[in-house]
């Protein structure tokens, strides 16, 4: 039951992100699309380097380094 709840949490986040994408692409959307937000905040070097390095690390984590940590005991 706990496992299902944990996975449901991830799926709810994905669902909310999907809803944000759909609403933000409507003509009368009250908030900007993810692309518009990134276009503005990525003009700042600290923001774009932090996000690019984090995204790069995801590739490193899943393709190169240890992806799944063994349990402590």
């Amino acid at each position: 039951m706990t496992r299902e709840l944990t996975i449901a949490g991830y799926l709810v986040c994905l669902l909310i992100a999907f809803v944000l994408v759909v609403i933000s692409h409507r003509r009368d959307a009250p908030f900007a699309t993810l692309g518009e937000v990134l276009d503005q905040v990525f003009a700042d070097r600290a923001v774009r380097i932090t996000i690019i390095v984090f995204w790069w690390w995801l590739g490193w984590h899943f393709l190169v380094a240890r992806t799944v940590d063994p349990p402590l005991t």
Binding site: I7, Y10, W60, L63, R66, D69
Partner: protein
């Protein structure tokens, strides 16, 4: 008259604006230490230090790199093909992923540090919403990781995203999807915001 005081204020402002992102890097690096991944931790620490040095004006400005979309796509396709073909967790995968990261950071870094204004209106509301869902997802993932790290049973009950996606990335179709999304987003990140900086 010297413009040193004005420059000092400008650099202090730049450092202040970079602080939340430096904090993000420090937090991610600390989580890597907790999961006993010192190399990953060092990577985030080095980037945090570079951003501090850049904000205080110690680092020289790199010459701007003009890379066309065609060049990025061709390079991305080549890297993606290699990452699908070479063994996962191997030396070659490490070399390709490192090359992609170094190229992306160099291109992104070479763009001038901008003097952006705070987002307003629609963009501010969008930024708040996207940041909120990202933070909630990160906290959920962090709590699952911390609760699940003790025994096999707790790991099954509280899977991290890595635990859930790892079996899929281990298959060829899953790795193709992961690599394509990873490379495509990286190309997008390298290009986005160019018109404003």
């Amino acid at each position: 008259m010297s413009d040193r005081p004005a420059r000092t204020v400008s650099r202090a402002r730049q450092l202040l604006r970079a602080l939340p992102w430096i904090a993000v890097l420090v937090i991610i690096g600390t989580v890597q230490l907790i999961r006993d991944a010192p190399v990953d931790s060092v990577i985030f620490a080095v980037v945090a230090v570079l951003i501090v040095l850049d904000a205080v004006g110690v680092l020289p400005q790199l010459p701007a790199m003009q890379v066309t979309l065609a060049a990025l796509v061709i390079g991305g396709l080549l890297a993606a093909a290699l990452l699908v073909l070479v063994p996962r967790h191997g030396l070659l995968a490490g070399i390709v992923v490192s090359a992609v990261g170094l190229a992306a950071v160099a291109i992104a870094w070479s763009r001038p540090a901008s003097r952006t204004r705070m987002p307003r209106g629609r963009v501010l509301r969008g930024a708040i919403l996207w940041a909120s869902i990202t933070i909630v997802l990160c906290l959920w993932e962090l709590s699952s990781f911390l609760l699940g790290r003790y025994t096999v049973d707790t790991k099954i009950a509280h899977p991290a995203v890595s635990d859930l996606l790892d079996p899929a990335v281990d298959t060829v179709p899953g790795r193709v999807v992961f690599v394509v999304v990873w490379i495509a987003a990286m190309i997008g990140f390298v290009r986005v915001g160019r018109t404003r900086s």
